[in-house]
């Protein structure tokens, strides 16, 4: 289905076609251009983060210096020490970690199964259902706070990390399902049919053939859920009350004072909050490359 029958005459023609019609730069120049563009994009993306790091290691009296220097003149790790030595940071981090792992695993499980079902089967509602679920995402969350609060209180889920999980799932799932449906619909049916013809059950076909092909999509969705849960602020701040259950973003906002903010510590907090996720992503991004290479169909 995906192969192209090559007409005998075309095979002849393809040889003299070495002379390209459109203008193309020589290879090394193209490579250089690619690297230059990559570096520009990189600097654009990373500079504010660099600025955060720079501010967090500046000595306190350099933060308001004018003109601001691109590279800090002094360097001190005091802000990081202050943050890491206090027990609070680790407790917040642990809470965030638990919440994130739980929500990510559950989201991926649910959305992969649901997305697969929607992509593969035309059943009643397979088209309208995803849309319907997405609607819940569209109402400005800030104005949902009071009814949510009432509802959670009624269910007894206030001030609890476990109570937050359904809340997060409710607005992560629609998008995850959407995305997984989209990714699964990119995987050709023929693969699965071929596997089943070879004697696999539907489950095995799914597990051994489809899932690895959809891996980049799953990684993308899992990353999205991870990052949004890790960094989520509004619901956590409204529904988590005790100090012991706070998550990292709440800890960060506590550093922002009414009258003054210790910018060095805040920036250090921001760096420490972002660092674990970056690390995880750096490891995961290799998984973004499709496993089988997508060239599984031959002949």
């Amino acid at each position: 289905m995906d192969t192209v029958a090559i007409h005998p005459r075309q095979r002849e023609r393809s040889a003299p076609r070495v002379v390209k019609r459109s203008f193309q730069l020589p290879r090394p120049v193209r490579t250089a251009l690619v690297y230059i563009t990559l570096w520009i994009a990189f600097i654009w993306a990373v500079f504010p983060f660099y600025w955060m790091i720079a501010t967090s290691i500046r000595p306190k009296d350099e933060i308001f210096q004018r003109p601001p220097s691109l590279i800090p003149n002094g360097a001190t790790l005091q802000n990081y020490i202050d943050l890491l030595v206090g027990a609070q940071f680790w407790r917040f981090a642990m809470n965030s970690l638990l919440l994130t792992v739980a929500v990510t695993i559950i989201s991926v499980l649910i959305s992969v199964t649901a997305g697969y079902a929607m992509a593969r089967h035309r059943f009643k509602g397979s088209v309208t259902l995803p849309l319907f679920m997405l609607y819940g995402q569209m109402f400005p969350p800030v104005l949902l706070l009071i009814p949510f609060y009432v509802q959670l209180r009624f269910l007894g889920w206030l001030d609890s990390l476990w109570g937050l999980i359904p809340v997060y799932l409710s607005y992560m799932l629609p998008l995850c399902v959407w995305l997984m449906r989209g990714f699964f619909s990119q995987v050709p049916f023929s693969l699965e049919d071929a596997a089943r013809m070879d004697g696999c059950t539907r489950w095995q076909a799914f597990w051994k053939v489809i899932l690895p092909m959809a891996r980049p999509g799953i990684v993308a969705v899992a990353t999205w859920v991870m990052i949004h849960t890790w960094n989520e602020f509004l619901y956590a701040s409204t529904f988590i009350l005790s100090d012991t259950k706070r998550t990292l973003p709440l800890g960060l906002s506590g550093l922002i004072g009414q009258y003054t903010t210790d910018w060095g510590v805040l920036m250090a907090g921001g760096v420490l909050t972002a660092a674990p996720i970056l690390l995880v992503f750096f490891i995961l991004q290799k998984q973004l490359v499709s496993g089988i290479g997508g060239g599984a169909v031959k002949g």
Binding site: Q151, S170, G295
Partner: protein, 315 residues
């Protein structure tokens, strides 16, 4: 759709999964797969959203909410919102805000995804780096940008001066002409990596055989892109577009923490207006009216868009 075949050779295994392969099981199982997702979403979200919409039709203020005296007022909240001169400004700003963000993020996201869709030494490094804006917590990112824009201590002016683009410091967030665009730069910076990630994943899933075939047909770079690659990732692209649209309209932190909609409402969007109605005026009815309008607008826009996409897909 797929029926069990009984080939002469190896038989299908007699496992419990056979329940789902035949007859009733085969018809029911897709619903079962979808059920958990639907349950969670509907169970958690339905009450708050309906309550939020209903609030728009009552004269709910903090006072009437807590004394239980809120009365039904029909569309009066909506009328009062329309009569507010700031509403028109906020609507225009929201339009600009959304269009700029969506177009820029989709365009840049696609370009970056194409750029990063190759196996070159160090590509992992670049991919991680370009994803950084997305990973930084929103509150900290916005405050960092605010600090960078600050006329007293900001590095933005400094850099622009050194590059010769400016000849004197400009209060980016304080000038009513530039405040909205300055915030837009930040939100583009923050949101593009996610689009890039989605499209990159989609690109990675394009079967190489299709690309090879296209090359053998003699398609050059541009044509390969337009006629072969893009249609393959069309679904993911549509999803990215819808997501970006929703997230932009509902992006609260960026504008609120940088300018609070100011100065003089020059960067006010409908969402911040709703927030002010609700938490500064304590007029929850009007706040819900704006929120409901946003909601309806988003629902209509995305439904129409997706129906169009599906029609083209012939799905």
């Amino acid at each position: 759709m797929t029926k069990t075949r009984a080939p002469a050779g190896p038989k299908l295994r007699n496992t419990w999964s056979q329940i789902f392969e035949t007859g009733m099981g085969a018809r029911v199982y897709p619903y079962l797969m979808v059920l958990p997702a639907v349950l969670v979403v509907v169970g958690v979200v339905v009450y708050p959203v309906i309550s939020g919409i209903m609030t728009a039709f009552y004269d709910v203020t903090l006072r009437t909410l807590n004394t239980g005296t809120a009365q039904f007022v029909g569309f009066r909240n909506f009328e009062r919102v329309f009569a507010d001169p700031v509403f028109v400004l906020a609507s225009t700003n929201t339009l600009i805000w959304v269009v700029l963000n969506v177009v820029a993020q989709l365009g840049l996201g696609l370009a970056l995804a194409l750029l990063l869709h190759r196996a070159m030494p160090g590509i992992g490094f670049f991919r991680s780096g370009i994803l950084v804006p997305w990973v930084v917590p929103s509150v900290v990112a916005v405050l960092t940008w605010r600090w960078m824009y600050d006329p007293s201590v900001g590095i933005a002016n400094e850099i622009l001066l050194k590059l010769g683009i400016l000849d004197r410091n400009h209060p980016w967030l304080g000038d009513t002409a530039t405040s909205l665009y300055a915030v837009t730069v930040e939100s583009i910076w923050k949101g593009t990596p996610f689009v890039m990630l989605l499209l990159l994943a989609a690109l990675q899933m394009v079967p190489r055989s299709i690309l090879e075939a296209a090359s053998m047909d003699g398609a050059s770079g541009w044509r390969k892109l337009w006629y072969v690659i893009l249609p393959q990732i069309r679904v993911s692209f549509a999803i990215a577009a819808v997501l970006t649209f929703i997230l932009t309209v509902n992006n609260f932190n960026a504008i609120w923490l940088m300018t609070e909609g100011g100065p003089l409402n020059s960067s006010e969007i409908l969402f911040t207006l709703a927030y002010k109605y609700g938490f500064q005026r304590f007029d929850l009815g009007k706040a819900s009216a704006v929120a409901t309008m946003l909601f309806v607008g988003l629902v209509i826009a995305t439904t129409v868009y997706l129906k169009l996409i599906q029609a083209k897909e012939g799905d």
